[in-house]
């Protein structure tokens, strides 16, 4: 269980990093390594080179303003979770992050790395999709912004080109009077979810996003569906798969129960925030 040989680069500026990445079509970016290093050790991936971005302090910041939360590619899950400003501006980010792995993994893993890794069992890709966020990427060809809807292509497949480095992710702020909720069922707190649900209630619009249910993060629009029927309505749009962790039938039951519960919480959260916000 040791990685195959690779050339190791540790650039100290973003320009140097994108030039190094562009020079080798089989190179990969190393951020927190919490997903990449196991893949290397099990030899499921054998890149010719790694471009370690841990020296790029310019990517470590978290910026919060009225529009939302911008998370730099070197900000660790733990940094984002510890931020009171993030919690205030977009509480769904903090709610979901508390379920991402264990504290020790969060100390090293990055939130942007989790998005690029595009695991449908991960919490943050679903949150970005539900909120309509985006990721900004840089390469020798320039910069572009990828909307969440265009980011996740398939299992562990994002739409970044091999020479692109994600520099930040944008999670829009929670609008006044909107509410959110997140819950998941895992065998042990901190493990990957058997099923997780994120919900956003904003006026007439009610949406839910699902973790570990499909190959890519999936959001279902439940606007206008009455309480008590939301679980069934969500299930009609999804096709939960069975695996060694849970059968398809069990996962379907989790979708039914959790959707009802989490969407209900988001609606109550919206009511509470509207009351608080009222003059």
């Amino acid at each position: 269980m040791k990685p195959a040989p690779f050339a190791y680069h540790r650039p100290s500026t973003l320009d140097e990093a994108i030039a190094t990445l562009a020079a080798d079509p089989h190179a990969k970016v190393l951020a927190g390594g919490q997903s990449l290093v196991p893949l290397l050790s099990m030899r499921l991936a054998q890149p010719s080179a790694l471009v370690d971005i841990n020296g790029l302090a310019e990517l470590a910041g978290i910026r919060v303003d009225d529009r939302g939360v911008r998370i730099g590619a070197l900000a660790r899950h733990a940094d984002v979770l510890a931020s009171a400003e993030v919690r205030r501006t977009q509480p769904l980010v903090s709610l979901a992050l508390a379920h991402v792995a264990h504290a020790t993994i969060r100390n090293r893993g990055t939130t942007v790395g989790s998005l690029v890794h595009a695991d449908a069992a991960a919490e943050m890709p679903v949150v970005l999709t539900l909120l309509g966020g985006s990721v900004e990427v840089a390469s020798v060809r320039g910069r572009r912004t990828i909307a969440a809807a265009e980011l996740f292509l398939g299992p562990l497949e994002s739409s970044l080109a091999p020479d692109e480095i994600a520099v930040s992710a944008d999670f829009p702020a929670l609008p006044a009077g909107a509410g959110v909720a997140f819950e998941e069922i895992a065998r042990r707190h901190g493990d990957y979810a058997l099923c997780g649900v994120a919900a956003l209630a904003d006026g007439e619009t009610v949406k839910a996003g699902f973790v570990s249910v499909s190959d890519v993060p999936t959001v279902v629009d439940l606007s206008g569906v009455p309480a008590g029927e939301r679980g069934a309505a969500a299930l009609a749009e999804l096709d939960p798969v069975g695996d060694i962790h849970a059968t398809a039938a069990y996962r379907s039951q989790l979708v039914r129960v959790l959707t009802e519960r989490v969407v209900g919480s988001a609606v109550r959260d919206a009511e509470l925030r509207s009351r608080e916000g009222a003059p």
Binding site: M1, K2, P3, A4, P5, F6, A7, Y8, R10, L30, G33, Q34, V37, P38, L40, S41, M42, L50, D52, N54, A78, A101, H102, A103, T104, I105, N107, R108, R188, H189, G190
Partner: protein, 177 residues
């Protein structure tokens, strides 16, 4: 093709070590094989068990999910660095002895480093928080009850983290493998 080697200076438990390693050398292997610090244990080697947990600038991380080259310039604390400078046990270690927190002891180094950092972040944890603190570490002897009791006992004993300040009078070891 011969593999490219990197000269790396690792700062561990207040001493510095110079090693020459390939980029793919895991930090856990560098500690054990290049530095001879075999207290850090390796169980799963993919981040799940926590046996290899060390402190990086005071925060617990998996040594099997980092490369030694990436650890340059940061302060590493291993289980060898947890005892007091006079060799007596730290309060977390003492609590493990008192509460029978270890059975075969394989998982113990990872628990000790994790709990040391956990209690520094939260010196007065509730029972639930004690459980949460060790939830990322696996003990194959299933000794969790006593380990959680040891966390509570260590919190009672109070915080002493001699490891996290460089030891007095520690000399700089210049070592090459």
């Amino acid at each position: 093709m011969s593999e490219e080697l990197h000269d790396v200076r690792l700062s561990v438990n207040g001493a510095s070590y110079d090693v020459r390693v390939p980029g793919r050398r895991l930090l856990s292997d560098a500690l054990r094989h290049d530095l001879g610090l075999t207290g850090t244990h390796v169980g799963c080697e993919h981040g799940v068990c926590g046996a290899c947990t060390v402190l990086l600038d005071g925060a617990p991380v998996r040594a099997c999910l980092m490369f030694a080259v990436s650890a340059q310039g940061q302060e590493i604390t291993t289980v060898e660095g947890l005892a007091r400078p006079d060799g007596t046990l730290s309060n977390v270690q003492q609590a493990f002895v008192e509460c029978h927190g270890l059975q075969c002891g394989f998982c113990t180094p990872g628990f000790l480093t994790t709990i040391t950092a956990g209690l520094r972040a939260n010196p007065t944890p509730t029972h639930e928080e004690c459980r949460e603190m060790v939830a990322g570490n696996l003990c194959r002897c299933t000794g969790y009850q006593n380990i959680v009791r040891a966390v509570e006992r260590a919190a009672e004993l109070g915080l002493d983290t001699p490891s996290l300040v460089p030891r007095e009078g520690s000399s700089t070891n210049e070592e090459t493998p």
